[in-house]
């Protein structure tokens, strides 16, 4: 299961011609591929871009989603069910079906030279997350909310003081999945981001790797993949228990 990763790491330390030799371990440790990638592409900037695209928007978007899910689950407002169905229709439209007009929209607004196309849509929440959080909140008894109402709380106070605590595990579980998805995103940035300095690290490394695929410089390509994977693997290594539990938790509720 992990063999491809192990192969990647050892290959990245081989000199170019040694990849045809048998054996997993390098016969001579060669760090030139790493020197090459660090000097050739602005990796630090790429990582900062990726963090910018996947942390603040997902945090804000998760909060917005939770608020909407709370309204759909617990506030009896007129037209609640029909509005919810309309919102759900958004899930049924796949990204490739709308990416051309989205690109036109962003480029008409002069946003494709900057980071906004990968930030703005996430800020308005995630319909799938609203769907699951609403289901989860149906398990929260109404009596808790009524009690808070009698204490004089308005709905925002109820959300902040009562609901947010109760839904933290579900919110975290779906937030993590969303975060991983946007961390690894590739198609949207290749379309929406026309300024190289704003590319996320996935696109930068892909470009680097494609360039060396032509003359099959395998160690360089693997060094690129290592740079892309190591931060994620470290984060995963630290939080693995919590991530797996969250995923198990979210799949039970589905």
């Amino acid at each position: 299961m992990l063999y491809p990763f192990i192969w990647m790491i050892f290959t990245s330390f081989k000199p170019k011609m040694h990849i045809y030799l048998a054996g997993l371990l390098p016969r001579k440790w060669d760090f030139s591929s790493y020197i090459q990638i660090w000097s050739e592409i602005p990796l630090v900037r790429g990582f900062l871009n990726t963090i910018l695209y996947s942390v603040p928007p997902v945090v804000v978007g998760s909060f917005v989603s939770a608020l909407a899910a709370f309204a759909f689950a617990k506030i009896r407002f007129t037209g609640r069910n029909i509005l919810f169905l309309i919102l759900l229709s958004g899930i049924m439209i796949p990204f490739p079906s709308i990416m051309i007009p989205q690109f036109v929209l962003f480029s008409d607004l002069h946003m494709v030279q900057g980071p906004l196309p990968l930030i703005l849509p996430k800020l308005t929440g995630n319909v799938l997350m609203i769907f699951f959080l609403r289901q989860f909140m149906n398990y929260v008894p109404d009596s808790i909310i009524d009690a808070a109402k009698i204490d004089g709380c308005n709905y925002f106070q109820i959300f902040r003081r009562v609901i947010l605590h109760l839904i933290t595990p579900a919110l975290a579980a779906h937030g993590v999945l969303w975060f991983i998805g946007s961390w690894n995103d590739y198609l949207a940035p290749t379309i929406f981001i026309k300024n190289e300095i704003w590319q996320p690290v996935t696109v930068m490394v892909a470009k680097f790797n494609e360039q060396y695929a032509i003359n099959t410089h395998v160690p360089r390509i693997m060094a690129g993949s290592v740079m892309l994977l190591v931060p994620v693997l470290i984060i995963y290594g630290i939080f693995q228990r919590w991530i797996i539990e969250s995923v198990m938790f979210s799949s039970v509720k589905e």
Partner: protein, 309 residues
């Protein structure tokens, strides 16, 4: 009495205000980023629209894009490739049920296995695509080196023979998705009440019989969910074939409908034609999703009927 009614009234009004306020932002998102673009896609699919020009100045051509789409052998090939990749879905489902069943029987280090199998799920598809591209290359690739060491004289030319190229992507997709399905199945298995198993034990049922008659049917919702999300995701396959193979792949064997859409729109600037592809793709995904909601809803109604009985 009167004041109570008035109070109820004011609660109703404030309920509305709070409710609309809380759902406002997602609705703005839906309208601006999904519904308006979708309507534009539908409109654009009936026009000859060179990307870069205003859509309002694009010429109306009726069904021409759709006709040229379905008569275009490249489009049909891309749709065929996209469907072919979905062979990976049942393979992944069968493998993950087996693994989940083994792991759920209290295998030693079960939690460690979960973490290991889930690792490919969280890693970047970009990085992984390049790893598989190089592991499957004909000379020096670790897969063929291994096959030759098993005594296979002429291992397949994975990267250049059109009969094998798709399997590189299928193998990678199954490998990458396995951990996620395993976790879902384990979660599903742990949700099955132990009374079923105790009853089966009393009746003298063997492990495999119990698995086939109790576990598998009760896991149907998970299987169905994986099947539907697999089809929806598979229909949108883009990154893997784009990065592992160059262009459309050897003899057009690897490119997908989304690659066809992307290249026509963003490289050849035929946004009208690209929009028609986008709409056809959207209809396919819509039908699969609607089917899921329909069957899910039916399941809920059946359960409600049972509760009411």
């Amino acid at each position: 009495m009167k004041s109570k009614a008035a109070k109820k009234m004011s609660f109703r009004v404030s309920d509305n205000i709070w409710g609309y306020a809380f759902v406002l932002i997602p609705f703005i998102g839906l309208i601006v980023f999904v519904l308006i673009p979708f309507c534009m896609s539908v409109y654009a699919s009936f026009t000859a629209w060179p990307l870069g020009q205003r859509i309002t100045s694009a010429k109306w051509v009726g069904l021409k894009n759709y006709i040229s789409l379905f008569t275009n052998p490249l489009f049909r090939k891309s749709l065929g490739n996209t469907l072919f990749y979905m062979i990976g879905i049942p393979i992944g489902i069968v493998l993950s049920v087996i693994y989940a069943a083994l792991m759920n029987r209290g295998a030693k280090y079960e939690k460690v296995f979960r973490v290991l199998y889930y690792t490919p799920v969280i890693t970047s598809v970009v990085a992984v695509s390049f790893i598989f591209q190089r592991m499957f290359m004909s000379d020096g690739g670790t897969i063929n080196t291994f096959l030759m060491s098993l005594g296979i004289k002429n291992p397949p030319n994975w990267m250049s023979h059109p009969g094998y190229t798709k399997w590189v992507i299928i193998i990678m997709a199954v490998w990458k998705g396995l951990g996620s399905s395993i976790i879902m199945y384990i979660a599903g298995m742990q949700g099955i009440s132990s009374t079923y198993y105790e009853a089966a034990k009393i009746d003298g049922a063997g492990w495999f019989y119990t698995f086939r008659k109790i576990t598998l049917p009760l896991l149907m919702p998970v299987t169905f969910y994986l099947l539907v999300t697999g089809i929806i995701g598979g229909a949108q396959m883009y990154v893997e074939p784009r990065l592992i193979f160059t262009g459309n792949g050897p003899a057009n064997s690897t490119f997908t409908t989304v690659i066809h859409l992307y290249d026509n729109t963003f490289r050849n600037s035929k946004a009208g034609y690209g929009s028609a592809v986008a709409i056809v793709l959207g209809i396919i995904v819509f039908l699969v999703t609607a089917l899921q909601f329909y069957i899910n809803g039916r399941g809920d109604r059946v359960e409600k009927a049972k509760e009411n009985r």
